[in-house]
């Protein structure tokens, strides 16, 4: 398509655009073209790079550290949420009026019911060869009536 045909094409396709003047409406700052070549030479002499300034290491660090801190905090919170909290054992408190009614037999029965679940390990080390002297010393400390004990054993 030659230039004349293209002008006709433009006239047909875009009549309003075809009729507009092609003058440059942009205002150039005063003295720009006088100054500009010197500015270019100065930039060349400075060895100015045309690329966007590269990030220096400390700028990278200044940006990365807060991001890492946020990520670490998030991870810690996530782990904490996933760690199972200790299960609280629900204990139904008995009112004093009911506690008074519990006799020793009932208490002992409750202890015996749970006795099967108690393993020797739970009791800790039991020295079966405990010296009689230690036993007596213990009973005296507890204030036990030793005469009653002796009377019982002799019977």
């Amino acid at each position: 398509m030659g230039p004349l045909n293209e002008r006709d094409e433009l006239k047909r396709l875009a009549p309003r655009l075809h009729g507009l003047p092609k003058a440059d409406p942009f205002t150039v700052p005063d003295g720009f073209f006088e100054r500009f070549p010197h500015q270019v030479q100065a930039a060349i002499a400075e060895g100015r790079s045309t690329n966007a300034p590269a990030w220096t290491w400390w700028k990278r660090a200044a940006f990365a550290l807060p991001v890492l801190a946020i990520l670490a905090t998030g991870a810690m919170l996530l782990l904490r949420e996933n760690t199972p909290a200790p299960v609280a054992v629900e204990v139904t408190p008995l009112p004093d009026s009911e506690l008074v009614l519990l006799d020793d037999a009932t208490l002992l029965a409750a202890i015996e019911d749970n006795a099967a679940a108690i393993t020797p390990a739970d009791l800790g080390h039991v020295d079966s060869a405990l010296d009689e002297t230690y036993l007596l010393a213990y009973l005296e400390e507890e204030g036990a009536d030793l005469t009653e004990l002796f009377n019982t054993t002799t019977e």
Binding site: L13, P25, T27, F32, Q41, A43, T50
Partner: protein, 183 residues
Amino acid sequence: MSEELSDEALLAMFADEVRRHYAFNLIVHKHQRRLYSFVRRMVTDPDETQDVLQNTFIKAWKGLPDFRGDSQLYSWLYRIAHNESISHLARMRRGLFTTDERIFERLTGTLDSTEHFNGDAIQQKLQKAVMRLPPKQRAVFTMRYFDAMKYEDMSRVTGTSTGALKSSYHIAVKKIEEWITEE
């Protein structure tokens, strides 16, 4: 004086290390106005135009020693200016909250200022319509419509086939006609 010297003469002078800076100064003088006009139509803002144009010539300085002369010097410079303009516009699009509308407002803000724009209402309307084109299509339209560049030269500048350029220009013309016609 720079207009009297051909590009070949300037390039020969540039090859001489002693006169390299002087030759380059003349090259800038010779081609700055035409390239300024193209870049200004692409980015509109005068300060940004200066930055893009300066980058263009800095790259030209670095690349001239390798310039083989297989194209005209002006086409080669134009190609750099084109790529720098497109890169500049691409950098504008980066950013978390950058929208097409914000970019359009930024590009057309200059057109509302009489300090930087002395065209009438219809010319303002035309320039705003041009700003609505995607950057590469804007470049094609600017080169063809305002600079009357041949498709073969445009192809060397953009690295695009002449067929694709004709198609792109055709579409751009239709779009702009529609936009400047609507009230």
